[in-house]
Symmetry: C2
Subunit: 425 residues, 2 copies
Amino acid sequence: MRTVKLALFGLGTVGSGVVKILQSHKEDFRRHVGVDVELVACTSRVRDEAVNLGIADMFTTAEAIFDNPEIDIVIELIGGTGFAREVVERSLRSGKHVVTANKALMASCGGELLALAAERNVNLAFEASVGGGIPIISPMKHSLISNEISAVLGIVNGTTNYMLTKMDQEGLTYDDALEDARRKGFAEADPSADVDGYDAAAKIAILASIAFNTRVTIDDVIPEGIRSITPADLVNAREMGYAIKLLAIARRTEDGIDIRVHPTMLPLSHPLASVNGVYNAIYVIGDSVGETMFFGEGAGSGPAASAVVGDVLEVARLINAGVGPIVGCTCTDSLPIRPMSELVTKYYIRLSVIDQPGVLAATSAVFGNHGVSIYSMIQRGSFAGSADLIYVTHRANEANMMAALKEIAKLDTVNEVAAIIRLED
Amino acid sequence: MRTVKLALFGLGTVGSGVVKILQSHKEDFRRHVGVDVELVACTSRVRDEAVNLGIADMFTTAEAIFDNPEIDIVIELIGGTGFAREVVERSLRSGKHVVTANKALMASCGGELLALAAERNVNLAFEASVGGGIPIISPMKHSLISNEISAVLGIVNGTTNYMLTKMDQEGLTYDDALEDARRKGFAEADPSADVDGYDAAAKIAILASIAFNTRVTIDDVIPEGIRSITPADLVNAREMGYAIKLLAIARRTEDGIDIRVHPTMLPLSHPLASVNGVYNAIYVIGDSVGETMFFGEGAGSGPAASAVVGDVLEVARLINAGVGPIVGCTCTDSLPIRPMSELVTKYYIRLSVIDQPGVLAATSAVFGNHGVSIYSMIQRGSFAGSADLIYVTHRANEANMMAALKEIAKLDTVNEVAAIIRLED
């Protein structure tokens, strides 16, 4: 059994978790997996964490890692698309296998990086880039390959799911939920990547690429976040039998890939509706397998490190077997992205209006003029001359809906279009 | 790309599903997976189904398949441990890879068969033996290998889960629920394998073997089924905040593997509690990944065939790569099975008693004498001189509990110990 040598870039939350697993389970991996993996080098912005982890002797420079021909696998846990990209590219070019947790990188230039890995006959593994510790990329690239996948729906951002759960279960406002998430370490100082949907957009781009065998990048997804959701929306939804989740959706349609990230009302009976807190879940529909769901912790040191080390061991198995990559890039088709304007779905619309006669007639007329048919309307919370009109529509075209809302927003009696939440059922 | 040739034993529900996938997706597999698989031979008890599927020209004898050196992969979908075992053994001996959905076979002699496969340097894949189409064996043998798994809890029998769901949601009796399941094709004429827990026992033996890296066979599991569960138990459970599920449980403990199959009360907030109908789900807890769950259709033609063909394609990939098995048997430890008598858990006990003064005191005294501490007691359904006493206990030792119940059953005022349901929380 030859020793497979590892180098680690990045000693943050996930990196520390990786080091701890490698330290505590080395002997288990020899016995159960039949591989001997050894961390021989690490680097990071600061040396402190290497000292804390007892691996100060391995701390070195990036250049020393690139130049070391003995290193078999580079683990990239820097994040982002700057230096991390250079690390991945230089490692692959020098014939090293790469394991990464970098969703931004894989969602923006995964195609190029996988092509480079194939050219050099090395593995580029990225299970940890989506869903933390949940096995999802491997099942889609292996167990489920006999299926034509028709849809992937995911709760893939733990921060926003935690906030929405708090708002739903405890009536917290968006601001209070964000503050609570920050205190617990679930939200960053600048929460934009999470609350505005960019993190989820990167993840669904990666999942869609694998599910539909076609390259989808983060630029193909226009995310909507949860900033406009209020506790009242969650109460209204629940009364109607729905939960509100920030859903990442990718569907195969006859007109191309339908891909989006936005707050979504899901029937309470849907398996995703009861996925709460920082948990993630990915729901996959295949033509043979039917409906499947993969659930677990979507973030945090342990879960993400579990996926990273899983990838490392898998690559080490292949190295031991003396074989090159078995599965590389699976984007063998080239399907178009269907424009969001072509979406047809049901909508929950909350309008903040001036509470006076004629407002309902005026707003309803605009919907009618744009071919948007109303399923139900309720009025809520008249206060200080303002009220909320809450419409639920039948299936309507997105372009028509947006045109209607643009016109409604201009009405003198309308304060604002306060919430747009699409329904899945 | 060389053509990988397949032979299929068994043209029942799953076999037909496999043929249909291979027929409809052959070109997809070439393009997306990079393998060319071709069914060249099949056999079954009767030829009719081969005619229906348009593959009558491939219908042949078992001997012809064993003797055909061109066949790369044998798919065994006969079931049981008789001829199926011969098929698997002879195929492996002649150097053919084997894909099987046979839980009984893998749970009874999986160790021997995997050893034989290793000896001949061929793959023996069995994803479809547990959880229908749900990827669970592959994730445990690949993505989750960086974890020490502490527990696997599964709803792995769709028939009983369908029946319990009907009893819970519609108040059906056990007999009516069974009749309903039969009408829908979810239960067989002789339902014993399902309702008495043998099917679930085989599946948890397979999962435990992989999770804990130690061989567990179906003989290590003493299953309890759902025959004694009544709609009243389900109502009582729900009032207490629990769902009743036929749970297959395997836990790593300091005293060995705790493995069992029995009706179990699960908190309604547990992810498994809302898995209803014929759906299956397997809940896996690892030291790094934390809590994960894999959900999907646990039976039926499409889902099981999805897993079978997934295994076929995976083996074909390895054949294409010119490499032997990467992962074989993972039972590298030899852990003892902890006797059921050493279990410590909470219990829900329903006693049917004669409704007269002193019964409660008499039964409670017996529990006390055996060191079983009571958490709550309610009396229900006094009718024709009989009543139900429903006890919920604090954590108690199984041996003590069984001794107490044996004594209670002998009391003149006790008709029977009507239900024993263990609690998980």
